[in-house]
Assembly symmetry: C2
Homo-oligomer: 341 residues x 2
């Protein structure tokens, strides 16, 4: 297959700062460069676009080129090539600009595969106009490696194209093209709803994992204390998560730190460590004690804005019921995109 990869990976960052080899094994290049080598060795026709030659030493570039990868400096050239377009760059405002550029040049029926854990809706809502009016033929797929490619822990891709509420971001054929690509390099394929991929792959697994650990430990403690523990825990956990995210949405991270009064929170949290199993709490107290200082600048000046803590899915249902039809869909869709654009 014709494959275009955007971003070779900042090897100096991977090797010198993250010390990936020590931590996760494997050998450089890591990231997009590793994927390019692997796909080329499996017989695919690979173009790798990287405008910045300084991201790695010439020796590593040679390794990539010797595997049969064509390296170009201009996304436009890569865009004209592939049937599958793999975006491996960490998501930033620039990612949207490059996708808009790519969309002007890619062959008919191409699929763009997002290879970091950015929610696909975050990409889609930023290029919706282009996709709906100019390139209806192009599909979006989430295709996230379980670990940075090239490291020893890299072994599978989590892939999705349909959301839990039935939205499809690519055709079956486009999706299967990505599945076949992964199979061709003998990596495991795990298919998941596209809206869940960001929670279970990449850096954001950090948030998912610690939050879920806290939830399960809370359920467990409550079940020791009351008989109807599970039902009540569910409501209390929802309340806490909805409140945290409401403050983050209206008042940003500094508003959240101010609202939660981190020094007080840490003191109180120490007193709620009652069981040995709460090791996640102990580690979190340690992290907060160190990290909150880094975020403390401007916290005092920050305003905590009013919030209304609601059950979000209940609200979605109310809108479908009271407003109804296309108007309701419009409101809901705007709010799907609201925190993503």
């Amino acid at each position: 297959m014709k494959i275009s990869i955007y971003g070779a990976g900042n090897q100096k960052f991977y090797i010198e700062e993250l010390k990936l080899q020590e931590k996760l094994g494997g050998e450089p290049p890591f990231g997009g460069g590793a994927m390019a080598i692997e796909f080329a060795r499996a017989g695919h026709d690979v173009v790798l676009s990287e405008p910045n030659r300084d991201v790695m030493d010439e020796e590593l570039w040679r390794k990539i080129e010797e595997a049969g990868v064509k390296v170009v400096r201009d996304d436009t050239e890569a865009a004209k090539h592939g049937e599958i377009h793999l975006i491996t760059r960490t998501f930033s405002e620039n990612t949207i600009k490059s996708i808009k550029n790519i969309l002007q040049h890619i062959p008919k029926d191409s699929v763009i595969a997002i290879c970091d854990s950015t929610p696909v809706i975050m990409i889609y809502s930023n290029v919706e106009r282009e996709l709906r009016f100019m390139r209806k033929d192009v599909g979006l797929v989430s295709m996230c490696p379980n670990a940075i490619p090239g490291t020893g822990m890299y072994s599978r891709y989590v892939i999705g194209h349909k959301s839990l509420d039935g939205e499809e971001y690519s055709t079956e054929e486009q999706f299967n093209r990505c599945v076949d690509l992964v199979k061709s390099i003998n990596r495991e394929v795990v298919i998941k709803p596209i809206d869940l991929v960001p929670l279970i792959t990449g850096l954001s697994t950090h948030i998912t994992t610690v939050t879920l650990s806290g939830i399960l430990n809370y359920y467990r403690m409550k079940s020791l204390m009351t008989e109807d523990g599970e039902k009540i825990s569910e409501r209390e956990v929802l309340y806490v998560l909805q409140t945290i995210s409401a403050i983050l949405e209206t008042s940003s991270i500094r508003g959240l730190i101010k609202a939660l009064d981190v020094d007080l929170l840490i003191e109180n949290a120490k007193a709620s460590k009652l069981l040995d199993e709460q090791e996640d709490l102990e580690a979190a107290i340690h992290v907060l004690s160190n990290l909150s200082k880094e975020f403390s600048r401007e916290v005092e000046k920050c305003e905590v804005k009013p919030i209304s803590v609601v059950a979000s899915q209940a609200l979605v249902e109310e809108i479908r019921r009271t407003v109804g039809g296309a108007a309701a869909d419009g409101v809901i869709n705007r709010c799907k995109k609201k925190f993503l654009t």
Copy 2:
């Protein structure tokens, strides 16, 4: 002041199961019993209601009675007594029943102080009819000790009566009565918006602390990797929290465990431990590896229902804008209560 306390605290659970003395110092009785002693010693006229004499040994009961506390077995008797009514029992369906009973008997202008970290809206929405139509004179206050009373770490109360969006659950006078009560026993008073009290006191600090630790660590990692890290992190964190809470709301804890595919999540999370500071992630992986089995029964049969991941506060705003007026308030209020009744 005349004080009524509901619940003496299950001392056998505190002493034998939680081993509170070893862990947090102090001496029994803990919980409601400790509060009763402390208030009586400060000169207040205290009635303690506990229907179950077996929650502690006779020796501990003697300690309470010798401090000048009147112990009764019937909430109704305590209800007729106090100007302040302290609910110290862990929240359960029974708590609502006892508050409904208490409301039929308490003196005019009494204030009910919730002393565990149950969200006050969760209490209010269950007794709204009684409060609005029969006992408009009664106020609700959150008044949570920072640690289980009687332990060595117990030193302050976090108190609130107004929410971030301006709802008042008691009069200023009723609120100040609670503040004065805490001052009279020389404990520190910390005043916070009532809707934030559940996040920063009691057992639920566990969830708040680990979630906030995960958020700050994530922000930190992203800021190492991209320039516009903070803005993008905010959106990604919101996305993860809203998705977790949407699944929990529609599909319960087992649906969440199924959706997140915990074994896969743990595997992927291991590969995202890149920095020493991610000690919260390491502890959470350990907790999940042990705990998820306890929750695994019936997970397979469980259905993950469709969700619409939205920015909740954006949706609240949309409703205020498009529906407007009292109808909008009605919708929002129903959804404030939806996960709490």
